[in-house]
Symmetry: C2
Subunit: 426 residues, 2 copies
C-alpha cells in the first residue's frame, strides 16, 4: 500500500504525541518509507483536547468504536486499561484492521486471545511502545536477536521506580520523600501503586518473556515485589557491600521452565545496569550467539512513547507486520513457569534485633541449620525501628529455604521487626 489510513483511539498524553509526530515529521517519514501515513480519525471523549492539537474538525470523533468501524487500515489503541481497550482492539482485529498499541497491561493479560484473533483475521498487532517507551527493544527481541536462544533478560523497565531509587541513593532520602519528589516532577501518579509495587514492570517483563520463550506468560505468572520496604539504611549497606539497589525485571530459562520476576535487587556497582539512573530504562538481553546486548533510553513520556507507536505504524505501512514468534499466534502456547520458591539466588538479609550480645550467633545458627551459607555480615550500633540492624549477604540458596529460615528467625525474641530480604544479581 502506498498510503495507509490510521485512526487513533485515545488522545491523552501518548495519543497527542502521535498526532504531533505525524504533523511534524510526517513528510520525513514519507521520504523514508515512500508511504503516506494518513491520519484519518482521532477519537477521544474530550474532543476539545484533540481540537487543540490542530486536528481538522472532520477527523475528530468522540467514540473509539467509530474508528474501529471506519475504513482505516490501522487502529492505534491508546485508551489504556483492559476493559474498553480490549473491546476496541478485539473489534478492530475482527474488522480486519491492524492494531498498534502501547498497552502493556492488555497484552500481559489477554495476549493469547488477541493475537489469535489477529492471526485468524490475517492482521497484525504491533506493540513496541508497551515496553521501554521509545527504545526499540521489542523489535530487537522479535527480529534483531531472532537467531539466538535468549539466556537472560534483565531490565530496568519502570522509570518511576528507578527515579525514586536513584533519588534515595544519591540524596539519602527515604522512599516516602523520594516518592513525593517523583510526584512533584510528574513522574509518579497520585496513586503510584502500578509503578512502585512493580506491577507495570511485571506487565512488561511478561511480554518480553513471552516473545523470548515463545509461549504466553501472563502477569499472574510473574513474581512481583515492589520497592516500598527499602530504607536509606539498605541503600547504605548495599553501597558498603559494593551494590546498588534497582527494581529489576528478570526472565531466564532454567531446566525446562522460565523464571520471571520483578523485585528490588542488588546489582554490583560496576554492572552496566547500575549506571542506568533517573527515569531512564534499560534492558540487557543475553543471547547464546550475540552475547550481552543492551538497549537504553527514555522508558516513558509523551514523545518517546509516540516515537515507538509511529514506528509500528510505519512498519505495518511498509508491509512489516507482526513479528512475534508464530507460536504466539495460536491458542495454547504456554510454557511452565517457576514457582518463586524454586528461585535460587544470593540474598541480602536485614534483621532488626535487640542490641544484646549473642544475636548474631542465634541468627547464624538458624541459617546454618538450613544450610544457608553467609558471605558477609555487618552489625551496626544504630537505632533502627526499635532495634539495631544486622545485615548479611548469603551465598546462593533457594528462596523457599531462605523464607523458611527467616520465618524461624523472626520468631526469636531478639528479633523486633520482620526481616527484610533482597535478591542479589551478580
Amino acid at each position: 500500500m502506498d498510503s495507509v489510513k490510521v485512526g487513533v483511539v485515545g488522545c491523552g498524553t501518548v495519543g497527542s504525541g502521535v498526532v504531533k509526530i505525524l504533523l511534524e515529521n510526517g513528510r520525513l517519514i514519507k521520504e523514508r518509507t515512500g508511504k503516506e501515513i494518513e491520519l484519518t480519525l482521532v477519537a477521544d471523549r474530550n474532543v476539545e483536547r484533540v481540537r487543540k492539537l490542530g486536528v481538522p474538525e472532520e477527523l475528530i470523533v468522540d467514540d473509539g468504536f467509530a474508528v474501529v468501524e471506519s475504513d482505516v487500515d490501522i487502529v492505534v489503541e491508546l485508551v489504556g486499561g483492559t476493559t474498553v481497550a480490549k473491546d476496541i482492539v478485539r473489534k478492530a482485529l475482527e474488522n480486519g484492521k491492524h492494531v498498534v498499541s502501547a498497552n502493556k497491561a492488555l497484552f500481559a493479560s489477554f495476549g493469547e486471545e488477541l493475537f489469535s484473533i489477529a492471526a485468524k483475521n490475517g492482521v497484525s498487532i504491533r506493540f513496541e511502545a508497551s515496553v521501554g517507551g521509545g527504545i526499540p527493544v521489542v523489535k530487537a527481541l522479535n527480529e534483531g536477536l531472532i537467531a539466538n536462544k535468549v539466556e537472560k533478560i534483565l531490565g530496568i523497565i519502570n522509570g518511576t521506580a528507578n527515579f525514586i531509587l536513584t533519588e534515595m541513593t544519591e540524596r539519602g532520602i527515604s522512599f516516602e520523600e523520594a516518592l513525593e519528589v517523583a510526584k512533584e516532577m510528574g513522574y509518579a501518579e497520585a496513586n503510584p501503586s502500578l509503578d512502585v509495587d512493580g506491577i507495570d514492570a511485571a506487565h512488561k517483563i511478561a511480554i518480553l518473556a513471552s516473545i523470548a520463550y515463545g509461549g504466553w506468560i501472563t502477569i499472574d505468572d510473574v513474581y512481583v515485589k515492589g520497592i516500598r520496604e527499602i530504607t536509606p539504611l539498605d541503600v547504605d549497606f548495599a553501597h558498603e557491600f559494593g551494590y546498588k539497589i534497582k527494581l529489576l525485571a528478570v526472565a531466564k530459562p532454567d531446566d525446562g521452565k522460565v523464571e520471571v520476576r520483578v523485585h528490588p535487587a542488588m546489582l554490583p556497582e560496576g554492572h552496566i545496569l547500575s549506571s542506568v539512573d533517573g527515569v531512564f530504562n534499560a534492558c540487557l538481553i543475553e543471547g547464546d550467539f550475540v552475547g550481552p546486548t543492551l538497549y537504553y533510553g527514555m522508558g516513558a513520556g509523551q514523545k518517546p512513547t509516540a516515537s515507538a507507536v509511529v514506528a509500528d505504524v510505519a512498519d505495518i505501512a511498509c508491509g512489516r507486520g507482526s513479528s512475534v514468534p508464530v507460536s504466539l499466534l495460536g491458542r495454547g502456547a504456554r510454557i511452565p513457569v517457576k514457582r518463586p520458591g524454586e528461585f535460587v539466588s544470593s540474598f541480602y538479609l536485614r534483621f532488626t534485633a535487640v542490641d544484646k550480645p549473642g544475636v548474631l550467633a542465634k541468627i547464624s545458627s538458624i541459617l546454618g541449620k538450613f544450610n544457608i551459607s553467609i558471605k558477609m555480615a555487618l552489625q551496626k550500633s544504630i537505632e533502627f525501628n526499635g532495634g539495631v540492624p544486622v545485615v548479611m549477604t548469603t551465598h546462593e540458596a533457594a528462596f523457599e529455604t531462605v523464607k523458611e529460615a527467616i520465618a524461624e528467625i523472626d520468631e526469636l525474641d531478639v528479633i523486633v521487626k520482620p526481616t527484610f530480604l533482597c535478591m542479589i544479581e551478580e
Copy 2:
C-alpha cells in the same frame, strides 16, 4: 515463502558462525518464524574448512559465483573487501537474489550503485552485521527510530581501538604496548591499520549517516584520524580534566550539511559512552522525539556477527526486505558534507615546549590572537619528548582556526615537537 534457500559465499570466521547458528538454532528459528531456512550452498576456496563444520559434501563449492548462479533465494556475502565481493553482490542482485552482507567497506564505498541495482531488480540488501557486530543498531535506525529526525549519532564502533584505549587507560601502558596485547588476544590483525587508523569506524559511521540523513555518504566524506598519537600522558591529563579518551564516530546535521567524523575524542567520565570499555561497542542515537537511545554489545567476533547476519536472513524470509530510506534506492541521493575546517568543537591541546619561563605566555598570546579562549591550562615539569608538556582545553572554536593557531605556535622556537590536538565531546 515457507522456506528460503540460502547460499553462503565466504566461510571464514563469520561464515563459519553463520553455518553454526543455522545448524544449532535452525529449529528454533523455524519455530519462531514459521520459515525453513535451508542452507543450500556454501562456497569457499578452502573447501576443507567448510567440511570441518559438518556441511554435507554436496552443499560445498569452491567458487562463489556458483552460488550466485544457483537457485538460492538469498546470497550471504562474507568474502569481505571491495573487489570480488562487489562482483558477487552485483551479480547476485542482477540474478534476482536478495543479499545479506557484513561488508562495511563495500557499502561505504559502493552503496549507491549496489542499492540501485537491488531496487531495479526488486530485491533487498540487508547489512545489519556491517555496523556494531551483533547489536541490531542498523535495524533500530532504519525501523525503530523512523519517526525521528536524527539529531546526533555518537558511536564507539571499533572494538580493537576501544580495547587498546581501555588498556592504555586502565594499565597506563603505551599505544604500542596495548596494541601488542590486542594482537596477542586476537583482537588486532597483523596489520592493524583499518582499526587503529579509524578507517573501519569511518566505514561504519558512513553507513549509519547515510541511513539517518537519507543520502549516500561515502568513506571519502568522513574526516578520519586514528589513535596512534595518543600517549599515556594524554590519558592522564584527560583524567585530570575529568575525561576519558575514546575513538569516537560522530554524525550530526548542521545547517543543511552533515558532519561525519571519526577521531579520538575526550568524553566526560560520567558520559554513558565512557563506560563502554574493552572490545564492546555502543552507539548513542538521539532523535527529536525519542531523545537519547543507546545500543550496546559485542561489536565483532564470530558469533555476534553471525547472529546479525542470520537475523537479516530471517527478516527477508519473513518478507521484511530492505528498510533503508527509499531515497537510498535510487541514484544521486547525496547530501552535502561539512569540510573538517568547518567543525566547531572544544579542544584539548598538548604542546611540547622547552622548560623555560614565558612559554605559556607565548602560546596563549597566539591563541588569543586567533580568538581561541582557554578553559583550563596545566603545565607539568616532567620530561616528555625532549621538552615538557603544556596542555590546555579550549572553549568552542572552529577546527580551521585552531589548526592555523597551532601552525603558528609550532613555529615558535620554544616548541620542540608538533602539537597534538583532540576534540572534546561534551
